[in-house]
Amino acid sequence: MTDITPTADALLMPKSAPRTRNMGQIIRWLLLFIGGIIMVMPIAYMISTSLKWPHEVYNVNLIPDEPTIENYTYVLEDGRFYWWFVNSIIIATITTICNLLFDSLVGYTLCKFRFPGRTIVFIAILSTLMIPTEMLVIPWYLMSQSFGWLDSYWGIMFPGLMTAFGTFLMKQFFESVPDDFIEAARIDGLNELQIWWTVAMPLVKPALAALAIFVFLGNWTAFLWPLIVTNSVDMYTIPVGLSGFGDEADVAWELIMTGAAISTIPTLVVFLIFQRFIIRGVVMAGLKG
């Protein structure tokens, strides 16, 4: 307050009240600020490093002494990075589409149909959530080996084409689609597959969008399995490729960071495309007011 004459309000209010409110606010801002710094710093360093010359990489300064885009030209002209990028795009896109289809198909079935063994199937799917990827990698590898899937797109993708998490998520969201909609469609003469596609799916768009973002990001950043299943440099995905970027002698951090910076672009695009579908309350509008 710049006004020096106390107003009626200020006189009536107990003196300590505004001060405690200010203190609370300051603490809140402070915490948010610290949180923000913690989250932004790695990204800031990533970008900063990608703009540095090799000799400056181990300096902690955030602003490069001599900023350069040399790293970007190098990475973009390097054939390997181009392939990794294409591989990652193909794999993440196909996996995302498959998850959207299969997870919602299975989730819908588990949610809206009564059949013997339904609960057991659901529990079986859920229980796979408790097994860490690290444990599954060996069976996956043996399987890929005997089927001849090593070092192929299919080999990289097959474990993730359907996920227990996505199935669970979709099942929960389909619970919010009233049975009346489905029965109305049944009376209108749609078959079950048409009902799923034309009635149920549009009503869970927000969930599909969320799932798309999750799956895309998950596959875009997946490291362990692609590292194990691929052999040839041409089959690498971005994370696998970047981890060894540089020449044989040592790891070139400035190039890794440049690749990482470039590889965030598709994730931003995916996020921007799908987040606008995450609008609440779409389902309720067709029901009683």
Binding site: F181, E183, I187, D188, G189, G286
Partner: protein
């Protein structure tokens, strides 16, 4: 358009039977209302007719054709749900057109039909809106439009008005009735509101606990209730029931009075319940039945409901609106003999 027949329909969920042999014949173009308390099996019956629920035993015929094993879409029916169930992601027009999806009609005819239905329901201006931009009554009309557009043999309504406020409900009641007069399809309408049943139905089916209690025109179920359940369920306030015994044409109430009733064939041991509607029971009647003290008055304007404490328990009667008896006053209530109903005390069935 077609008639509908239910033959000894039963339904069990697991080992519990919830419908115990429903038989009913509905004529072509008839407006039949199923009414009954919650859980009596109205919706289940309707959903079985629609084919959304399997029949445990019995036969359903639509237009003389057994439909038990047909899919809902093959039964030539349309259904309007309590929650409207119009698709929120489609415009009004698309919602209505949805009912025609599986029809082989040429596109131009479909368009014409949609416009026609929209015209009947007074929704031509709303066709491009989304359901979220409509009021409750308008949404319900879209749901009706989607059902109408196919011109089904039988319309099924499951409590379509219960989510609307009282005023809109009355209005929609009229609209549906008018619609029926106009299109003439057979209608099965489920409600638990007896006023809706009385005002709309050609015939009322009163259900309780999975059994049909009575089937009849609104006048029949009101004036000739088949049993004490129907007698008390139809009409508000409910019919008074006074315990007594019958001997020839003389009913002796447990409280002592003698009442003359029309000649009836007594069943059982002579224990009866004498039924009389508050509407028919007045002070200062030529045919006195029972005496008691007024405990409460409810003025309704032209008339006043009086609650009277009698030796047979509390009963409700109607008195004049201008000069009703005061609280505490002793009144003698009576009714014309033709307005008296006699029920067997143990079975609850009406004597005739």
């Amino acid at each position: 358009m077609a008639n509908l027949a239910l033959r000894k329909l039963t339904k069990s969920y697991g080992t519990t039977e919830v419908l115990h042999g429903i038989s009913l014949d509905v004529a072509d173009g008839e407006f039949v209302v199923f009414v009954g308390p919650s859980g009596c099996g109205k919706s289940t019956t309707l959903r079985m007719i629609a084919g959304l629920e399997e029949t445990t035993s019995g036969i359903i015929e639509i237009g003389g054709r057994e439909v038990n094993n047909l899919e809902p879409k093959e039964r030539d029916i349309a259904m309007v749900f309590q929650n409207y169930a119009i698709y929120p992601h489609m415009s009004v027009k698309k919602n209505i057109a949805f009912g025609l999806r599986s029809s082989k009609m040429p596109k131009a005819d479909k368009e014409k039909r949609i416009q026609e239905v929209a015209g009947i329901l007074d929704m031509v201006d709303l066709l491009d809106r989304k359901p979220s931009q409509l009021s409750g009554g308008q949404r319900q009309r879209v749901a009706i439009g989607r059902a109408m557009v196919r011109d089904p043999a039988v319309f099924l309504f499951d409590e379509p008005l219960s989510n609307l406020d009282a005023q809109l409900r009355t209005q929609m009641r009229l609209e549906i009735k008018k619609l029926h007069q106009r299109v003439g399809n057979t209608i099965i309408f489920v409600t638990h509101d007896q006023v809706e049943a009385m005002t709309m139905a050609d015939r009322i089916v009163i259900m309780k606990d999975g059994y049909i209690q009575q089937v009849g025109t609104p006048a029949e179920v009101f004036h000739k209730p088949a049993n004490t359940f129907v007698a008390r369920f139809i009409g508000a306030p409910s019919m008074n029931l006074l315990a007594g015994r019958i001997e020839g044409t003389i009913v002796t109430l447990d409280a002592g009075q003698n009442v003359t009733v029309p000649t009836l064939a007594p069943t059982g041991d002579g224990g009866i319940l004498l039924g009389v509607r508050p509407d028919d029971l007045h002070p200062n009647s030529a045919n006195p039945i029972i005496t008691g003290t007024v405990t409460l008055r409810e003025p309704l304007g032209s008339e006043t409901l009086i609650y009277v404490e009698t030796p047979s328990g509390e009963i409700i009667a109607k008195a004049d609106g201008r000069t009703p008896p005061a609280v505490g006053e002793t009144v003698t209530l009576g009714a014309d003999p033709e307005n008296l109903h006699v029920f067997d005390a143990s079975s609850g069935q009406a004597l005739s």
